[in-house]
Amino acid sequence: MVMTLLRQMWNRRRQNGWIFLELIAVGIFLWVVLDPLCVQIANKNIDRGYEQDGLYLLNMDKYGKRSARYSREYDTDSIGLENYHDIIRVICNLPEVGSFVVNESSTFANSGSFYGGNLYGDSALTKDVDIQCYWFYPVGGSDMLKTYRFRDANTGEIMGLSPDFRSKNIVYVSESVARRLYGRTDVAGEKCWLGNRNCNEIGGVFRDFKDRDYNQPYPMMVAKMGSTIRGSKTMHWRYSIVFRVKDGVDADGFEHRFNEEVKPALVRGNYYCTGISRLGEYARNMAEMTGDLNVVRKNTIFAMFGLCCVFLGMVGTFWVQVNARRQEIGVMRSLGASKYRIMAQFIMEALILVTVTSVIAIAVMGYYVHAEGFFAKGGMQSGEMPDMQYWQNNPLPHFMIISLVMYLSLLVISIIGTCIPVGRAIRELPADALREE
């Protein structure tokens, strides 16, 4: 049966030639377009390692010297410090706020900045690890781990700072850091060295954490900065206040109340609050700014365009073929082929076409990817070793998955594009189909 069909298609090669070439071209196009799209989606779907919902960033500003509200008298480091402590107190005393943290400038998720470092293990045998650092100030009552809801890599529980974190040099590292430095994740109590200067004790290991939604987790460390905040003239950008509202607090209601009641009154000295932003909004802006979202948008549109071409091509080809083969369909029915059987034969033809052309397109892409180094850097930052637990970092599974997605999407679209004209043609009475035009 399949052999007969193959022979028949070979005899019809002139009629099938165009769609054959189109399918190969679109197959290659689709592969190229789907590749970054699938990687982006896969990266996006990796767990963030924290809970974004309920997290807010406090936006602060300072009256400039030309502002009518500026006061020279208040613009000292000591008064500024007092003002800032006051502002922090107001925030953490809001009934809706559950926990908060004061981060060093731009060391919070999606901040758009990168504070890097090198972490060394206690053994001379292991290589150091490039890490990203989140620094927090140990302001009374604040807890970065609890605010973000970092999860313990070993137990899965939400973490909190160790009780003795003030007196010791304690740092928290992500599981990929622990694995690289010690080969395991239960390393609380081990020693590590930051930039080969300070000796630190590991207070806990958290699950891999994504600084940005469309990036893969980067090896990360969370540590305290100094002993408390210090007064300066630029505290509004020096200190990023991130807080989490309690579970069950209605976001819209809280934001409304904050803007109506809290914000207007949150002016201390020359510092004033300009509002709050959801951290999710920040993440979205970041994805917008880095172009990650545009890759998703652009490639989705390209992929749909490619699939549209295939759809129209298949409908067109089979429409023309089916009209030209009307009599053939009539003959098949006169010889005892049921409608279902005829439909199955045409679907089989589409399937063979798509399979053969996909194999060719995938072979072309395989050659190309191999020539390019057979490796995709999908969503990693420079200098970083890929984490092999993600398929998108493994050459072979990566290639197979993209090829499979390409093949399946071509197949589905082609079959739909075949069923429409064939379905129309087999509704006809055989006598009408057989009549000479």
Binding site: M1, T4, R7, Q8, M9, N11, R12, Q327, E328, G330, V331, M332, R333, S334, L335, G336, A337, S338, K339, Y340, R341, L429, P430, A431, D432, L434, E436
Partner: protein
């Protein structure tokens, strides 16, 4: 004689936007088992329509068709109709209607393929029927490489490979010269005489018609004798 085909009060009306054509009007026809019947009449009198209705390729506007004692018609499922065409009927058309992209062997096997017969067996039987119509040396050719007479012999081979009881043929020699036509008629007569097949043939050729058991004449959709 046992009746294999019974038509009872068949009417067929074609409706187009402007006109209504009564292609068949109250046709009552019976064909006996093993009979060779020719249908004659001027062009447009409804011969092809009648043959298509007997062959379940077209549906009558009203009336009853019985084949082998079973009432046949649109009340049957597509699958049942297909099975019926496959097992009981064989068609030979004026313009051959071979599938152009299939070679002779594949064309002839189609009815058995639709019946689900094994590949080995259908190849075997295709060889036998092609031998019978004298074309065993042309099995790998495609229809466009054959003459009209050869095409029609392939069509006959295809019609008989499934051993149908009834062969329906619409002007089988209409597109052939007289020598090729005679060859085709010889094969049909042989099938009727030796295999006992029932044949209903539409023809314009008086001489061919006279060689058959019975002539049914039509005029303007009505049976005149």
């Amino acid at each position: 004689m046992e009746k294999i085909i019974k038509l009872n009060g068949i009417n067929k009306v074609y409706r187009t936007n402007e006109i209504e054509t009564q292609a068949l009007e109250n046709v009552n026809l019976e064909v006996g088992k093993g009979e060779f019947v020719s249908i004659m009449g001027p062009s447009g009198c409804g011969k092809s329509t009648l043959l298509n209705i007997i062959g379940l390729l077209d549906a009558p506007s009203s009336g009853k068709i019985e084949i082998n004692g079973d009432e046949i018609g649109t009340h049957m499922s597509d699958r049942a109709l297909a099975r019926f065409r496959n097992q009981t009927l064989g068609f030979v058309f004026q313009s051959f209607h071979l599938i152009p992209s299939l070679n002779v062997m594949d064309n002839v096997q189609l009815p058995l393929v639709y019946r689900g017969v094994s590949h080995r067996e259908s190849v075997e039987r295709a060889r036998i029927v092609l031998e019978r119509v004298g074309l065993s040396h042309r099995m790998r050719h495609i229809p466009s490489q054959l003459s009209g007479g050869q095409c029609q012999r392939v069509a006959i081979a295809r019609a008989i490979i499934g051993n149908p009881e009834i062969i329906l043929t619409d002007e089988p020699t209409g597109n052939l010269d007289s020598k090729m036509g005679a060859e085709v008629m010889d094969i049909l007569h042989e099938l009727n005489r030796n295999d006992g097949r029932t044949i209903v043939m539409v023809t314009h050729n008086e001489e061919q018609a006279r060689q058959t058991d019975r002539i049914v004449r039509f005029f303007d959709g009505r049976q005149v004798c």
